[in-house]
């Protein structure tokens, strides 16, 4: 059971993601950001709940909607903003961008812009951990859309056969881009990992405490060598598929969005728990928010001011 300080830490992490993402949207609206970005707003509890259960040297893989995973695993907002803006100081020297942030320091094997593209990679990292006796666990984050990719099943089969320490975390935010997941997903989601003998669990992805509980249990189990696991986290993205996805009426209603934002906001939910139980006062949460907002503003401005890589660098890093 985590203590209150741990919950406060999760609150901070979730809020950091929220504030980071709001600024990403801002950068886009102000035409400062090259390309697009896929915001994690609304889904913060999944990344934070799971990553709090990890050691620093544990690995994660992430997706096109990856900023939350990065931050939850401990990445610095300034280097992330820089990467999103294509600046030299970014995590990947500007070469990766929003969809490819990677960071060995925090065990981030990288975001992947191929849906399902990291399933086998994560499984391979778990293979290393087991082979090298490192006791590391790997978490593979993906959206429910990745359930459409065959390589996920190939990977789960292998992970279970070889009892690899990998936890597959399926973030079901209800939509594959603009299509409801029920139109693309037959049967029961958790029956799929179960068919391979993989331990699986469903969790309310808006409740970080619940995610943390399930996450720690399955991460510990994997670390002990008891094999892979699968978590279905039910969640919702509050914003568009990407920052440019503004008119969404044709695939989901405003009411649906409104309902999730009002009733199922993971930050509000944890906030209410913390203040309701008088673990912290609202004023303290407000201070946290102010502090984080200032930090994010600084980080963003630093990134805006940072230089682009020199054109000559384009040819570097192709081969090791």
């Amino acid at each position: 059971m985590p203590n209150n300080e741990a919950y406060l830490q999760m609150y901070r992490r979730m809020l950091a993601i929220r504030l980071f993402e709001e600024r990403v949207n801002d950068l886009y609206t102000r035409a400062l950001m090259p390309g697009l970005a896929h915001l994690y707003i609304g889904e913060e509890a999944v990344a934070v709940g799971v990553c709090e259960a990890l050691r620093k040297d544990d690995y994660i893989t992430s997706t096109h909607r990856g900023h939350g995973h990065c931050l939850a695993k401990g990445a610095s907002p300034d280097l992330m903003f820089a990467e999103l803006l294509g600046k030299k100081a970014g995590y990947c020297k500007g070469k990766g961008g929003s969809m490819h942030i990677a960071d060995p320091e925090t065990g981030n094997l990288g975001a992947n812009a191929i849906v399902g593209g990291s399933a086998a990679l994560a499984t391979g990292a778990a293979y290393s951990s087991k082979y090298l006796n490192q006791g590391r666990v790997v978490v593979c984050f993906f959206g429910e859309g990745a359930l459409g990719q065959g390589v996920l099943y190939e990977s789960m089969n292998l992970a279970q056969l070889w009892k690899l320490p990998v936890v597959y975390v399926c973030e079901n935010n209800l939509y594959n881009e603009y299509t409801h997941f029920t139109e693309t997903t037959a049967g029961e989601i958790v029956a799929r990992p179960a068919a391979f003998g993989i331990q699986s669990a469903t969790v309310d992805g808006q409740n970080v405490r619940a995610v943390y509980d399930v996450g720690s249990k399955l991460v510990d189990r994997a670390r002990k060598g008891e094999g892979p696991a699968f978590v279905l986290a039910n969640t919702y993205r509050f914003r568009g598929h990407h920052v440019g996805d503004i008119s969404r009426d044709y695939y989901r209603t405003k009411q649906e969005e409104q309902r999730w934002m009002e009733e199922r906001d993971p930050i509000k939910i944890l906030g209410a728990y913390l203040t309701g139980d008088h673990i912290v006062e609202q004023a303290e949460l407000d201070r946290v928010q102010d502090g984080l907002a200032a930090e994010m503003d600084r980080a963003m401005q630093w990134a805006i001011d940072a230089p682009y890589p020199a054109v000559e660098e384009v040819g570097e890093d192709v081969y090791a």
Binding site: G35, S98, I114, L147, N176, T184, Y251
Partner: protein, 340 residues
Amino acid sequence: MHETTDTTDAPAVTVSRELTFGEAVKEAIAEEMRRDERVVLLGEDVAEAGTAFKVLTGLVQEFGPKRVVDTPISEAGFTGIGVGAAMTGMRPIVDIMFGDFLALVMDQLANQAAKIHYMSGGKWRVPLVVRATLGASRRSAAQHSQSLHAWPSHIPGLKVVVPSTPYDAKGLMKSAIRDDNPVVFFEDKMQYKVKGDVPSEEYTIPLGVAEVKREGRDITIVATSSMVQVAVGAARMLEAIGIDAEVVDPRTTWPLDEKTIVDSVKKTSRAIVVDEGYGRYGVASEIASVIAEGAFYNLDAPVTRVAAMHVPIPFSPPLEDATIPTEKAVFDTAKRLCGK
């Protein structure tokens, strides 16, 4: 410049309109769907969303969800379904969104679709169209920016289309749909908003016929897809310094109209090949070697390739911009080859 190889009877009066490249593709598909019930569209978000690039908006309204079908994110699966459906009486169009995802369907495309007709001794046919995109410079980074048309072009049994204008896109798409073979149709994402004349009367353009997009005497620039615009731009710049460039657009990389290309170079005696794929082992290499062999005795300078830089496409704008062929690069190359 648009002297096209129209295979339909020419109408007395041709009313021409401006359509975007995207609209032209959609119109071709819509016309063929009206004409032939067996034509259906399968892909991620092709229905209500009208594709991620909003190119096919409206089709589901006209043809219904039975013919414009949203799929799961299963490129290999639904491409294979397209192959099986094509064998058994349908004429499916399969949409794989970003051309990079071709990597996920190469087995269905190269080991299945391309070979079924031959392996069955001609008994089964696969009238399938696979739509894919190519082209960088959208700040989409390495996994969403590649131009992989060289891969299917390498495989016997496939045809590959790389249209450069709305007019060509429409006429070639109609031929691709009517073709009894698997055809991979590459659309440049950056071209979707580009406008061009498209007659309202029906026409098709046969696969395998190149077009001279601009006539010239001094040097031939063979260019594919959006690189045709780059070549035409370079030709304009060259005109200013007294070099008269001919621009040849193969329109399909397979069948490849070697004759038109080689004849042009025989006339001009110099050649540049511009393609947005990687130069190494790429489309530009094939066309360059066809020219170097076919026009050997007429060449006054080495055939030179201008293609994507040999790096995964970087995200950072100044870096990405450095990786793709530009008018300036083509201009400089032409100038050098012409000894000016």
